[in-house]
C-alpha cells in the first residue's frame, strides 16, 4: 500500500529571493524526469483540468527553449517560458523561468531529482534575480524589491492577470 501523498508538498523560503518546493512521488526517477520534460506528458498535468493547454513546446538541450501556455476557462492566458541552462538526465535541470506579463519576475529554476527505493523526491528552487546588485540600491531596498517580485510571481500563480 503506497502512502497517499496528495497535498504533501513542503514549501520553504530559504531567503527572500528563493522559493523551495519539495515533494515525493511513487515513481522511478527516469519516469518523473520524462513527465517533467516531454510535452506529451506535460500536457496531461501542467494546467488545471478545466483549462486548455494551447502551447506546450520543449527543446530539451542546453540553450533550448520551453514555452507553456494555457487558457483558463474564463479566457485568461497564462504563459510560462524559459531557456535550459543545464540538463543532467535524470537528476537535474536548471532553466530560466519567466511568467509572461511579469517581465521583472524572471527567476532561475533548479530542479533536482533523487530516487530512493522507487520513491523519487523532486526539489524545485525558484531563485529570483537580485535587483539590488543591478541597480546599486542599498541592501535593504534591494530586499524589499525582491519581495515585491516574489509577491508578483506568487500573485500571478493565484490570480494571473496583468497588474492594473
Amino acid at each position: 500500500m503506497t502512502p497517499h501523498r496528495h497535498g504533501s508538498a513542503v514549501i520553504e523560503f530559504p531567503s527572500a529571493l528563493e522559493i523551495l518546493t519539495t515533494r515525493e512521488f511513487d515513481a522511478p526517477i527516469e519516469l518523473v524526469f520524462d513527465v517533467l520534460t516531454k510535452p506529451e506528458h506535460v500536457r496531461q498535468w501542467f494546467a488545471p483540468f478545466d483549462d486548455t493547454m494551447t502551447v506546450c513546446s520543449i527543446d530539451l538541450r542546453v540553450g533550448g527553449a520551453y514555452h507553456f501556455v494555457f487558457v483558463t476557462k474564463d479566457g485568461r492566458e497564462c504563459s510560462f517560458r524559459g531557456t535550459y541552462l543545464e540538463i543532467e538526465r535524470p537528476t537535474r535541470i536548471v532553466d530560466t523561468w519567466l511568467f509572461e506579463g511579469w517581465p521583472d519576475a524572471e527567476a532561475v529554476e533548479t530542479v533536482d531529482l533523487h530516487e530512493t527505493d522507487g520513491v523519487t523526491q523532486l526539489k524545485t528552487n525558484l531563485a529570483f534575480r537580485d535587483q539590488a546588485g543591478r541597480d546599486h540600491m542599498t541592501k535593504f531596498d534591494g530586499q524589499e524589491d525582491s519581495w515585491d517580485k516574489m509577491e508578483d510571481y506568487l500573485r500571478s500563480l493565484l490570480d494571473p492577470r496583468p497588474r492594473d
Binding site: H6, A9, V32, H41, E144, W147, L157
Partner: protein, 113 residues
C-alpha cells in the same frame, strides 16, 4: 483571488530583516524603544524608524506608560499574509497532485501492457 489591500505593505514591512528582528523581540511582550535598542544592538533612530513602518501597517501598536512609550506586537495583522501563503501552497500542491495522479496513471498503463 486578489490580495487584501494592506497585504503588499505588510510584505514590505516584514521584508526588511531588522524589522523582523523587532517583531521577534516583541513576541515576548510589549517593550519600550530603549529595551529593543538593547536587545538588538541597533541605534535608537534606526529602531524608531522601523517601528514607525511597522505601526503604519498595523503590526505594532504603542501606548504611553509614564515617560515610556511601550510597543506591542499585533500578530493578527499578519493574517493576510498567512491566508495568501496558504492559497499559494494550495496552487502548488494542486499542480503536484495532478502530476502524481498522472504518474500513477502512466505506471498502471505500463503494467497492463
Amino acid at each position: 483571488m486578489p490580495l487584501a489591500p494592506t497585504t503588499p505593505d505588510v510584505f514590505k514591512a516584514i521584508a526588511e530583516e531588522h524589522r523582523r528582528e523587532i517583531l521577534d523581540a516583541l513576541m515576548a511582550g510589549e517593550k519600550a524603544v530603549g529595551a529593543i535598542v538593547t536587545d538588538l544592538s541597533m541605534s535608537q533612530p534606526q529602531v524608531s524608524k522601523h517601528l514607525r513602518v511597522l505601526s503604519e501597517v498595523g503590526l505594532v501598536t504603542c501606548r504611553a506608560d509614564g515617560r515610556h512609550r511601550l510597543y506591542r506586537l499585533e500578530p493578527e495583522h499578519l493574517r493576510p499574509l498567512r491566508d495568501w501563503l496558504s492559497k499559494y501552497e494550495q496552487a502548488v500542491n494542486d499542480r503536484l497532485d495532478r502530476m502524481d495522479d498522472y504518474l500513477k496513471h502512466v505506471q498502471q498503463q505500463g503494467e497492463s501492457q
